[in-house]
Every structure is written in C-alpha cells, then in structure tokens.
C-alpha cells in the first residue's frame, strides 16, 4: 500500500494551492460582503485559470480533458475545498455529470459551451415538498400540442441566479405497475430566458456568492429536443457521477478542515492567557489533537474511496460512509475552531465564523447525514431481511 502522492499529484496540489492563495483567497472577504462575485473578479480568475491549464481539469479525455484518475482528481478537489465555493466555481474545472447525456444538437448548444465555460447551468431537483425524498417532487411536464408544458416550483437551487440554463427534473407522467402508480421522471434543458421561468434569490447564511434560489415554472414550453437522456430516464444517472459528487464533496470537506486547522494552530500557539499560550492548556491541546486525528481520518477515507473508484470497487454504501464522515468532520473541526478562537471566532472581521457557517451545510446537501446513515444501515442489513 502506498499513501504517498506521486510527482504529478503533488505538483498539481502545490500549483493549485499557490493559485488559491494568490488568486482566490484575497477576494473572499469582498464576496462575503457583497454576496456575489463581481464580474471583473470572475473574469480575472477565469483568465488565469485558463492560462494555468486548470480549466477542464476534471473532464475525461474524450471531451478534451486530461483524463485524470480519481485519486489525482480528488487530491485536486481537496485543495479546491479550501477557497470560498463561489470563487472556486469561477474556475471551470468540469461539467455536471448528467450533461454528458447530451445528444445531437444538445452537444453544440449545451455541452460544448459548458465545457468551454461559456454557459453555466444549475441543477433543479429539490422542491418545497421534496428534499431528501426526491421522488416526492410534483413539478410536472405535460404534453400539449407537440410540446412539453412545465409547471411547478423548485427550491434551494444553487447558482440559478448566475446560470444560463437549468437542468430540470420534472414528472412527465405516471405508469401503472403491479405495485401501484409510479411517476416518470424526466430531465429537461431549459434556457433561463424561457417565458414563464422566474428565478428568485433566497437569503442564505452559507456559501455566500454561491446562492440558493427559488425557480418558478409557469407554463414554460419546451420542445422534445430539450429532453436530456430520454423521457422517463431523469433518475437514471450513472453511478460514477453519483460517487464523483459524494467523494468530491468529502475531499472539499477535508481541504476546508485543513485550512481551518492551520488558522486554529496559529491562534492556539500565539494567543496568551494566564501567562501561557492557550495551546499549552490541556483543554485546548486535546481539541487540537482530536482535530488533527479527525482530519487525517477523513483524508484517509477520501484516498481509499478514490482508490476504490479507480479500481471499480466503489458502491453506494462506501460513498455514503465517506460523505457522512467528512461532512460531520468538517463541522466538528469548525466548531472546535470557534471554541478555541473564543469570542474572536464569532466576529465578522475574522474568517472563522464564515468557515463555521459554511461547514454546516455539508451535513445537509448532497444527502443529509441521516439519509447517508439510513443508506448505510439498510445496505448492511439487507442480507438479514426476510
């Protein structure tokens, strides 16, 4: 077993870290204040990321990417967990997996411009009445005069405010099966300028600049050619994309925890109380030790998960395990960091409170912690079920 990064992985990690330190970190406070990324900052990051060859780094070779293995990709994503999500998104590292289902003219219209970073999308599944229980969505697409007419409301849609098109999952019909009626889910590519489509911002306390929105569909009409991947196949996503999403999120959590921990060590090693640095008190020392161990475990789980993906050994139980551990871990680390910073950890002038707020969402999106636990338990107990 070899836990060391090879030259290529280490060089990419070093280069990305330097990029984040020089090009992204300096803008974080501004984005936090404004709640959006100003255009000139966005353009500058785009240009520099293109120059450095980071654009499209997560793309497979067939779409012009470098075809990195998962281990390298997840190590790179670990670094990309360090800067603010909104700024990291300005780099065009890859595209939403489901977009690879594009066929015929969809490739020219949606996939290629997304690869080039010219068009951004937002993925719209969640609704006011359907979060973890995704099959409970009610947004419907009805066939009328050779077109689909879409009506419904989507909630917590990240980035729809700055997107050019929406990847929408809607109910396109109901099948009668021996087990009862079954909804047909279909993915649609809907241009944001479509009549009847309206995006409303939601005010969130996390990942400012990468904002959740409400998306309203009021008799939005789209032709057959906007169906992504076949009618009734909206939930047939490749496992690879699912694992990619979960493990990348886990890697982000590890990277973010590392950054929080670096700031915390600095503080614990320099802040004085009762004539000593606070790190010299056992109460703080134990926290520092536990944070270090917690981060290491997350890092090892991400490395193992990536290794499993590279060797076709990944499954949804494992994906939920790493996702659960890392998202809970980053919040524990952030919360301990606040405790060690004390009152200063709550001040807006200090970044710790932002990391603490941002860490909280990791236990909720991409599957809540409870859903992951549910998946793990169900999968492990399945052989014993009558």
């Amino acid at each position: 077993m070899d836990f060391a990064l090879d030259f290529e992985q280490q060089a990419l990690v070093n280069s990305l870290e330097e990029f984040c330190r020089r090009e992204l970190y300096p803008h974080e406070a501004v984005v936090e204040e404004l709640r959006y990324v100003p255009d000139e900052i966005k353009q500058e990051i785009r240009r520099k990321s293109l120059e450095a060859g980071f654009d499209g780094m997560n793309l497979p070779e067939e779409w012009g990417g470098p075809g990195l293995d998962k281990q390298t990709k997840m190590q790179a994503e670990r670094v990309m967990g360090k800067p603010s999500t909104a700024l990291g998104q300005c780099m065009n590292r890859g595209v939403t997996g489901i977009l690879f289902k594009c066929r015929d003219e969809q490739i020219e219209e949606y996939l290629l411009p997304s690869i080039r970073g010219e068009r951004k999308n937002a993925f719209a599944l969640t609704e006011p009445g359907a979060g973890s229980d995704a099959r409970a969505i009610v947004t419907r697409a009805e066939r009328q005069g050779g077109e689909w007419v879409i009506n419904g409301v989507k909630q917590f849609i990240s980035g729809a405010d700055i997107a050019d098109f929406i990847i929408l999952i809607a109910v396109s019909g109901t099948d009668q099966t021996p087990k009862g009626p079954r909804k047909r889910f279909t993915a649609f590519l809907v241009d944001k300028a479509s009549p009847g489509l309206r995006v409303e911002p939601m005010k969130s306390i996390v990942t400012r600049g990468y904002n959740p929105t409400m998306v309203y569909f009021d008799n939005v009409r789209v032709p057959d050619s906007k169906i992504l991947g076949g009618e009734g196949e909206g939930f047939n996503t490749a496992n690879e994309w699912l694992y990619d999403g979960r493990v990348a999120l886990s890697a982000h959590c590890v990277g973010r925890a590392e950054r929080i921990f670096d700031m915390t060590k600095e503080w614990a090693g320099s802040r004085k109380a009762f004539g000593r640095t606070i790190g010299e008190f056992q109460g703080i020392g134990f926290k520092i030790a536990n944070m270090a161990i917690d981060i290491k475990l997350g890092d090892l789980m991400v490395k193992e998960a990536a290794w499993k993906m590279d060797n076709d050994l990944m499954n949804r139980t494992e994906a939920s395990m790493v996702n659960y551990y890392c998202s809970e871990m980053v919040f524990r680390v952030a919360d301990n960091a606040v405790q060690i910073f004390g009152g200063m950890g709550m001040m807006e002038d200090f970044p710790i409170q932002r990391f603490w707020r941002d860490a909280r969402i990791e236990r909720i999106w991409e599957g809540t912690s409870e859903i992951h636990q549910d998946v793990i338990a169900k999968d492990l107990l399945r052989p014993y079920r009558n």
């Binding site: 030259f7 280490q10 280069s15 060859g53």
Partner: protein
Amino acid sequence: MKILVPVKRVVDYNVKIRVKPDGSGVDLANVKMSMNPFDEIGVEEALRLKEAGKATEVVVVSIGPAQAAETLRTGLAMGADRGILVKTDAAVEPLAVAKILKGVVEAEAPGLVILGKQAIDDDCAQTGQMLSALLGWSQGTFASKVVIDGDVLSVTREVDGGLQTVKLKMPAIVTTDLRLNEPRYASLPNIMKAKKKPIDEKTPADFGVDTTPRLKVLTTVEPGARKAGVKVGSVAELVQKLKSEAGVI
C-alpha cells in the same frame, strides 16, 4: 542560446521552521520542501526569454540528494526542457556549488546562467558571484529587469538607495531579485509532460570537485522574540521620539 538555471531544494517558505534541540541546525524531518523562491523567479525569467525567442533551451540543474530530482521536475513542470541532477548527500557549501556549476557550464556551454540571488535556507548570497569569478564571466546581481539586445545584456539591479543598470557582454551570470517577475503556476498539461522530460544524473566527482566543507557551523539559534511596539498619540510625539529616543533624526 541555452539558459542554465540552477535550482535548490529548500524548506518551503510557508513552513514555520524549528531549530534542532542540540543547536546543530534546522529540523528537516517531515518538513515540506520546495524550490527556492528566487530560483523559481530564475526559471520564470528563462522561460520568458525563451518564449520571447531570445533563447532556445532552458536547462535546470540541482545539486543535492535524490529528492532534488523533485525540485528539477517542478522546474520541468513550469516549462523547462531538461534537468541535470548532481547527486550528493553531503552538505555542499557555496564555493563547492560554484565549482560544480562551473563544470556544468563547461559541459553545457549556456549563453546565460540565471541564479537566485540567495537560497532562503542559509541566505548565503554567494554562489552567483563565485561562479562569475570562477568562469571569468560578467555578472548582473539582484536583477529586477533583464533585457537581451543582440549579445548585450542589460540588467537593472536593485541596489541600496535605488536602481542601477549595467550592460554585460554575454555569456553572463544573472542573479534574481524578488521583483524580477511573478513565477507562473505549473500548468496541468506541463505537469503531465514533466514526467517524460529527461533528467541526467551526475556526481560532484564527475566535475572533479571536492565538496569537503571548509566552514563549520558552531551553533544555530532561534531569532530573539520581537518586543512589542509603542503607540504614539500624535505626529509631534512621533517626531519627538524619533529625535530623543531613536536618535534617527
């Protein structure tokens, strides 16, 4: 024209270094190592000259243990064409480094050698000057600007109290200062290409250089803690303190 850029493997500039408890040196166990930042500026300058059509090949050379090959690969990942590793596990002092580099220069015949003005580990700031003396070449040290015009090299130097521009005949030695350029990020395509670029392995003996130390480190100590400053209430008070306490005006 070929440009030779010596690069040194040093403790990463972000690392908080610690002196070994016995004072024999700096603790290097499990410490992140990187290319000396001034050498990185040297690689960047060489690459820019190559991109501007003033040079045809950029060769990076490092003297050190087997791991110095990683430092060379970093240079290759920035865009250098090939590397030379002069392998030795011994500590090599500036004069021995300069003598080895003289051997490399004689074998490679570059038109320009760009070195960092100093390495951030021992801060000697000697190698470039020594190499220039050994070769009998002109030198432009602490460069903040380098312009090649035919076989004349203009080097703007950062000197006390301002800038000085010297014109050198090539071949020549340049040492880089911080403001010469901002090094590029190793791009992903170049990182992937770096693995396939050649690295030649040599030893100090190949150049007939004896690396036996001539200097002895007596002790290494942490710098003293900085004392807290004072706040002044007004400009008048500041001027008064500068006069009476600091004695600088």
